[in-house]
């Protein structure tokens, strides 16, 4: 999900000229990867591996914090105190995920400020799913169920990522993501089973709008994913986009049945020969349109982040100035 980095970046060129020393290091690195060893921050790694990880981890971090916005949109309108508390806790978790991930990226030698600068300038991306609007309360439940559900599918394999600080961050994150999915499903189930017709219609409408964008979260089809092979080779990516997407569809069809909602795909059908659900063609032009900046909320999301950062500059400067005065006073004393 949050890791479209390798899919949406241009195909990387492999660096050509290398010293003999570096070639030896490279060989040792490749052997470690092949042996399934984890790479730590202090270990030698190829520049290209480092760059790819920075891109992926930071995109993941940005997705967590931009992802706070669509759901944050409903905190003040949550329909009960219990739901308000759950939503606050969930959005707070996403902020925490952002923190762990920025910290993991920092082990690779970039600062959080640099990464944020790249987000704010539009140079770094975040998951395009967050460029869709949350129009009703059922969207909040649907995000938990489908968006967090897709995120879990995508993120569980990253817990075994070859870069250890990223893998460790993902283990913590995945633990919390399953609560996110459950609370979303539970919110929808309550509306479907105990609610009114108007509420059931609200849920169905939300599922209709989120279903296809959620399938797009896994990234373009394998044959159009330029950097996937390298990611697999390095143990950064473990399962292909199409495999993950299929796993997600297979798991979700049954959950939709329990909920009593239909999924908006007439081609959805059990294929006994494959042992999987077949599903209809995804409109990839929509995906590329949203990735390219022309989704329903791209401008609002980015400007919300930029405005928060700019409006908060005086606070960060003051905190720094205060801390400096304080250390000077302590040193003088």
């Amino acid at each position: 999900m949050y890791t479209q980095a390798m899919d949406t970046a241009p195909k990387d060129a492999t660096p050509a000229v290398r010293s003999a020393d570096e070639a030896a290091l490279q060989t040792r690195f490749d052997a470690r990867i092949d042996a399934g060893e984890f790479i730590e921050a202090k270990d030698w790694m190829p520049a290209h591996y480092r760059k790819t990880l920075i891109r992926q981890i930071s995109q993941h971090a940005h997705s967590e914090i931009v992802g706070m916005l669509p759901e944050g949109n409903w905190i003040t309108r949550a329909p009960t105190l219990k739901r308000k508390a759950i939503l606050l806790a969930k959005v707070q978790d996403e902020g925490g995920h952002g923190l762990y991930l920025y910290a993991a990226a920092e082990t690779l030698g970039v600062s959080r400020d640099e990464l944020l600068e790249a987000l704010h300038s539009g140079q770094a991306k975040y998951s395009s799913i967050f460029n869709y609007p949350t129009l009703t309360w059922a969207d909040v439940g649907t995000i938990g169920w489908l968006v967090d559900g897709a995120a879990i599918m995508n993120q569980v394999p990253i817990c075994r990522c070859s870069y250890a600080p990223y893998a460790r961050a993902m283990i913590r994150i995945c633990r919390e993501e399953s609560f996110h999915q459950r609370q979303g499903f539970d919110a929808l189930l309550t509306m479907m089973q105990q609610g009114t017709d108007a509420q059931r219609a609200m849920v169905q409408d939300a599922v209709n709008r989120w279903w296809w964008p959620c399938l797009m979260m896994f990234g373009p089809p394998d044959d159009q994913s330029p950097n996937s092979a390298q990611g697999m080779r390095w143990g950064i990516k473990r399962i292909s986009n199409d495999e993950l997407r299929q796993k997600f569809v297979d798991a979700t069809v049954e959950q939709a049945r329990v909920l009593g909602v239909s999924l908006p795909d007439p081609a959805l059908q059990w294929n006994a020969a494959r042992g999987h659900w077949d599903f209809g063609a995804i409109d990839w032009s929509e995906f590329w349109q949203v990735v390219g900046g022309e989704g329903p909320c791209n401008r609002e999301r980015l400007s919300a982040r930029v405005n928060a950062w700019q409006a908060g500059a005086w606070v960060r400067e003051a905190a720094m100035a205060h801390a400096q005065k304080h250390t000077i006073q302590q040193e003088a004393a």
């Binding site: 944050g72 309108r77 105190l81 925490g96 309360w137 009114t196 919300a304 409006a311 908060g312 205060h322």
Partner: protein
């Protein structure tokens, strides 16, 4: 549209609602910051305080619902109390309902006003909860015991921010002083003595907030002094939210908060 519930006018119930509404309405304001704070750590901290306040409000509303049932046999649940009252039946002090930027200077808020208000209210709540530990209402005392730890943490966290910003840069000092000028006039209301408070004090239910004034003032003064801010004078203005007469901002806050409960009668969320 879902109609409003009517609330028994017993002083004891109102006393509990004043505290519950203070928690809920401030949490509502803090929730508006989500995703927009100056740094990620403070985004999380604001959400954290909102969560604690919601937890406290829930316990208090449930207790108020029980009280209501003993008064006239009608038991309300936490959501009926939180979402289905008319504006005049909310009894929080006006200070907590004010927008995050009272002067309209920034959306979703001015961090200076937010940290100052959080410090002011958390300091008040620490005193209220401390006194409630001795309440002869055992349920209320139990709520206080859990809440006081949370309130102490909020007080410390936001007092630190008041000092940091007051004694930071010239810009931040100016902004904090401006925030103080905007919010300080709402202090008077916090400590007005009235029949509801007197009844609570006489019954041993809880403190009259007026009796907390001296401690609150001295705590705030030491924070503001450390922040190198000038404490404004209190003049004749006195807001009246605790009596149910609110500012112009309250109606919008409630419209937003109540919207789903009002628009979908019979719904289960």
């Amino acid at each position: 549209m879902q109609a409003s519930i009517s609330i028994h006018d017993s002083p004891e119930l109102r006393y509990v609602l004043r505290l519950a509404d203070t928690c809920l309405i401030l949490a509502q304001r803090l929730g508006q910051w989500c995703g927009h704070a100056p740094v990620l750590e403070e985004d999380i901290a604001l959400t954290n305080m909102a969560l604690d306040l919601i937890g406290q409000a829930r316990a208090l509303y449930t207790h108020a619902g029980d009280l209501h049932a003993t008064l006239n046999g009608v038991r309300y649940d936490e959501d009926q109390l939180a979402f289905l009252r008319d504006e005049r039946d909310y009894f929080n002090p006006t200070l907590v309902e004010l927008p995050n930027a009272l002067d309209g200077s920034a959306a979703p808020g001015d961090f200076a006003q937010t940290v100052l208000r959080n410090c002011m209210i958390a300091s008040l709540l620490v005193l209220v909860w401390t006194a409630l530990l001795r309440s002869n209402d055992k349920a209320l005392a139990a709520i206080a015991e859990k809440a006081i730890k949370e309130a102490r943490y909020h007080q410390q966290h936001y007092a630190d921010w008041v000092v940091r910003l007051g004694d930071g840069t010239d810009v931040s000092a100016k902004r904090m002083q401006h925030a103080l000028g905007l919010l300080w006039p709402y202090v008077s209301e916090l400590f007005v003595e009235d029949a509801i408070d007197r009844a609570a004090a006489t019954q041993g239910l809880g403190p009259a907030w007026s009796t907390l004034r001296a401690s609150w003032m001295s705590q705030m003064q030491s924070v503001l002094e450390a922040a190198q801010l000038q404490v404004p004078q209190l003049n004749a203005f006195c807001s009246t939210g605790r009596c149910g007469v609110h500012s112009e901002h309250m109606g919008f806050l409630l419209a937003e908060m109540q919207h789903l409960q009002r628009a979908y009668p019979g719904a289960v969320w």
